[in-house]
Symmetry: C2
Subunit: 323 residues, 2 copies
């Protein structure tokens, strides 16, 4: 089995690749495990630290037809399409967001259509497809009303994957990701970057800025949770989705105040004292448009794994850093 | 004021152009009537029979950047974007549908963005954005779940117009059109073509085939109704839309049996006897995915004009043919 991971040098992609290498199999169309012979990582950045004889690295622009068509062929069984321009950047550079988030996704879908064998495609969509006046009753079937270009671009590709799947060009699985926390590494241009920063930086002895009100509710999923959902999303039989390939993944609904309290319980008041509260209207505006909760009963019924509580997510982060 | 009408040589476009020429004005941004100095018709087909010193004819491919950029410039105040590949054709030729229904729409939006003055854009979307298990409770905020490529393509452009509007690149107004009946002329490749054919052909002394069950419920709007809605949609202040530029237009919810009974009341049993009932699974599958009713309370609250009853629509058709 040959697998392609776009954005495979990114944080989630890298973690997904490691998990795939470790487990060594994915389910085939017959529902039985098939061994993974090759994983092709397509990313603008190199992931040279990931070494395994099964890995192939393609460093290039995902919106370049040559790059996409070189990576996807009739032997490709599964594609995990994670490459994207994040929310803050797609808002700041509209044309860039359209090129990477929409046009590159279309190239991938077209490469699948041309290949002609209907490969499985797991697409990372986002909570950002919702906007306006989000509420806890948002179901998979609630109309996306994005209030960001990023959310718009993701919602457009969701529609396209449903149509490509209906036509048999791909076997799509669209996973709407909550905000991922706790991410390791450095802050990024995503408007949600603080949702990891206010935990990670204090734990690392560094100051952190929280740009939103403590009563802001976020919908969170851990790094291991999202990778588990992606593999589960791949392995499910297509029939389970019915006519709609889009799933709101399970998320924890937590206020920023609760996140900080969880940090205090895990790491103590000194760590928490490193957080400075400095409202940032631009960030707050983004976040106010994302639902702090949604109805994820369909995801749970479909067997997608979720997290237990946010303290566990913090402990997961600490445990992984100490390796 | 300069106006562009894409698809202006088509049936609805032609009717819209005639109405615009006749009334001679549209509302400006200040809410006051401004005289229309020029209407540029962009269409693959010529509309030479439309003659008026205010008309400019551009015959060309709407997915050709040269054509679009030649028609839209900083002096363009309003664009009515009606050009499209119809449902049956977009299903039969996927690439063509994507090119005309999606890519050309993007060219138009980009031309507006480049022009930099945020012109008004009235876009003809469709009842076909709904699918699956449509119900009468479909509101403007119900998630589009198209089950056709045509509906998918329209729903993608809806999202894009909302985002372009939010960013101020255009002042968009997306009107979801019910099935238009009674259309004059000949049958076309739209799956809904029969909804006019079963009225028009018998009235013209010709046989007609009804490919769906008489209990099939359709959502209908008359030709004059849709043109009235387009002009109303243009003239409304942007604030009236709130954050969502998409409106389900008012439609009559009528079964095919009721349509035929209305025809009998207006034209007699001999006319109705020209209808042959021959189920066509392909057409029935399309139509079963469209809602036969929807919640159009928002459209009515926004002042969009609807029809009174289907008998009046038949009489409207007859009266216009006798001119």
């Amino acid at each position: 089995m040959q697998v392609v991971v776009t954005g495979g040098a990114g944080f989630i992609g890298r973690r997904l690749v490691r998990q795939l290498l470790q487990q060594g199999t994915l389910l085939g169309l017959d529902g039985r495990p098939r061994s993974i012979e090759r994983i092709t990582i397509v990313d603008a950045a190199a992931a040279d630290d990931l070494t395994d004889p099964r890995l192939e690295h393609v460093v290039g622009d995902i919106s370049d037809p040559g790059v996409v068509n070189g990576a996807i062929n009739p032997d490709t069984s599964a594609i995990f399409h994670l490459a994207a321009v994040v929310s803050g950047m797609a808002e700041a550079d509209f044309a860039l967001g359209m090129r990477i988030n929409v046009d590159a996704s279309r190239l991938i879908l077209e490469a699948c259509r041309q290949a002609g064998h209907g490969p499985r495609l797991v697409f990372a969509s986002s909570v950002a497809v919702y906007g306006g006046a989000p509420s806890a009753t948002m179901r998979d079937a609630t109309a996306p009303t994005p209030r960001t270009s990023y959310g718009t671009q993701k919602a457009m590709v969701e529609l396209l994957i449903n149509d490509y799947s209906r036509r048999g060009y791909v076997d799509g699985r669209v996973l709407r990701l909550p905000t991922i926390s706790v991410r390791p590494g450095r802050p990024n241009a995503a408007a949600s970057s603080f949702a990891s920063g206010i935990i990670r930086e204090p734990l690392n002895g560094e100051p952190a800025v929280c740009p939103v009100d403590p009563e802001t509710t976020l919908l969170l999923l851990s790094p291991s949770g999202v990778v588990g959902c992606m593999i589960h999303g791949h392995d499910m039989p297509a029939e389970a989705f019915g006519g709609n390939r889009v799933v709101n993944l399970p998320g924890l609904s937590v206020t920023v105040r609760e996140m900080v309290r969880a940090l205090e319980r895990v790491a103590g008041p000194e760590v928490v004292s490193r957080i400075r509260w400095e409202p940032d209207a631009r960030i707050a505006k983004f976040v106010a448009n994302w639902p702090g909760a949604w109805d994820n009963s369909r995801a749970l019924a479909l067997g997608f794994p979720g997290d237990q509580n946010f303290e566990d997510n913090i402990r997961q982060y600490i445990a992984e850093q100490s390796h």
